[in-house]
């Protein structure tokens, strides 16, 4: 490798190591910034559509924030009112749910005891009052699970605030970096940013699409099945889907339990589990081929490894950012390989053969 090509590689590796060290030690502080960056990154193509028509970026961003704020104010009476209504219903119907669950469990235990030898019979361990309290507590906690995923302060204040500035600045960060980059490496930097942009952008936009699809499909399905906590469970499933494959599992478990307690029958719970299985299947058959076509092409074992490493190092946030980081690593390796092999770059032999024909 020529000497001049070693310097940026070594600098790049040193920078990467420093960034990894900083992220590992400061990731709690970085969480709102990372989430804001992801949000700004996903929203920016929408801003770009208006910007391409000549509208000022600042005007579009302020307009977007005003529209979101207006939507929140308008929806506050309907969606929040609906959620509050659901909770009140739940409190009122809690004792009934508990009674149904108790009779179901009693019947199941009695049925089992009738078939088991005397020495193996199950004791009546379930205290009806305790079961009732636990059931009410668990179902009431559903909104808490939802908000517990992210800190409330970050979700409602800090993230929109940071996202606003990131959106206003747009591509200035990359432009500034390109301007400061030594001129002979500009094309390589463009190559790298372009690869990361395509891989990461498509993956993140794909995730948003999946989350929206899971929210809509599960909300409609749960409403049809008559589950009281449809809105909360759908939101929880949609948010969980940012960790690939988790959305349907979380929706099935929480929704299945909620439906089971609500109706007092296992069949109701299994119907919800079936609904989320169908949603997962639909996602796999309809959305994933589209997303994968435009996104990062990685072996499932690499996904698994990234999740395990991300979860081990940074907990839930690690799970959330495992694949985006994997996208970046893959883009860096692709670019490094492209630089390495381009030393031997030659034109296509087929084109060279065709070029021998005189220009007539």
């Amino acid at each position: 490798m020529p000497e001049r090509k070693k310097t940026p590689l070594l600098l790049g590796l040193a920078g990467l190591a420093a960034a990894a060290f900083a992220v590992f030690h400061l990731y709690h502080v970085l969480i709102p910034f990372l989430l804001s960056f992801a949000l700004a990154y996903v929203i920016s193509p929408l801003i770009g559509r208006f910007e391409a028509r000549g509208v000022r970026r600042e005007v579009v961003v302020v307009g977007l924030y005003a529209a979101v704020l207006l939507s929140i104010v308008l929806l506050a009476n309907t969606v929040i009112g609906l959620a509050a209504g659901q909770l009140q219903d739940l409190q009122a119907q809690g004792p009934q749910y508990a009674a149904r669950a108790k009779s179901f469990l009693d019947a199941t235990i009695a049925g089992l005891n009738g078939r088991l030898p005397a020495g193996l019979r199950l004791p009546r361990m379930i205290d009806p009052k305790e079961l009732q309290a636990q059931a009410i507590q668990q179902v009431q906690n559903l909104p808490g699970y939802l908000l517990g995923v992210f800190p409330v302060l970050s979700l409602f204040f800090l993230i929109p605030f940071i996202t606003f500035f990131l959106l206003i600045d747009g591509g200035d960060l990359i432009e500034g970096f390109i301007q400061r980059c030594p001129s002979r490496y500009v094309e390589q930097v463009l190559h790298l940013t372009s690869e990361i942009d395509m891989s990461l952008g498509n993956y993140l936009r794909g995730l948003i699409l999946v989350a929206l699809a899971i929210f809509c499909a599960s909300f409609v399905g749960l409403v049809v099945l008559g589950v009281d906590q449809a809105l909360a469970i759908s939101l929880l499933a949609a948010l969980s889907s940012f960790v690939p494959y988790a959305g349907a599992v979380v929706g099935a478990v929480v929704g299945g339990l909620a439906a089971g307690f609500q109706f007092g029958t296992a069949a109701a719970g299994f119907k919800v589990v079936g609904l989320f299985a169908a949603i997962r299947l639909g996602d796999e058959m309809l959305l994933q081929p589209y997303i994968a076509k435009h996104s990062v092409d990685l072996h499932p074992l690499l996904f698994l490894l990234a999740f395990m490493a991300g979860g081990e190092l940074f907990g839930f946030v690690g799970l959330l950012f495992a694949i985006p980081v994997l996208c970046i690593v893959k883009a860096v390796l692709r670019v490094a390989w492209a630089w390495y092999v381009s030393e031997e770059a030659m034109g296509s032999p087929e084109i060279a053969d065709a070029a021998a024909i005189p220009y007539v």
Binding site: R53, R56, I174, I178, Q179, R184, E187, H191, E195, Y359
Partner: protein
Amino acid sequence: MLKQLRKIFFNQQFAARRRFLKSLALFRDLSDRDAGLLAQALHSRVYHSGEVIFEEGEIGRALFILESGKVDLVKSGATIFSVKPGDFFGEMALLEQLPRTAKAVAAERSQLLLLYRSKLDALQVSHPRIGVVIMAHLAQLLSARLRRFSQLPGSGAAPDA
């Protein structure tokens, strides 16, 4: 009043860049919106006098458009062409990744727009019309150059039909 409102809501600098792009032979048939999308795909960089933009023999990966200033294309120590504002060079990088056949040096403080190949590829996928227009003009440009070369005495090429 209307002019003031336009200034507030519309980016005059972006509009000027869009007009500039549409004035180039390579992009002349693009609509305003398509030129806007193309402008978003470009990166801008200022090169100071004497700064090397790329070396001869390096693998080309981007097309360069000179917005202002002057750039010299140098081969074996001799300037073979001086690029003026509105000209573009390095367009072969959009077709194949081959070594550059000359060195490019900023002869004075110059503002360049860079179109990276994969950005154009992405545009071709999302907005095929833009790709078709650019590729058609690039083919015309290549054809014109080849025609000119084949008409040179002693070029060894077959006479142009």
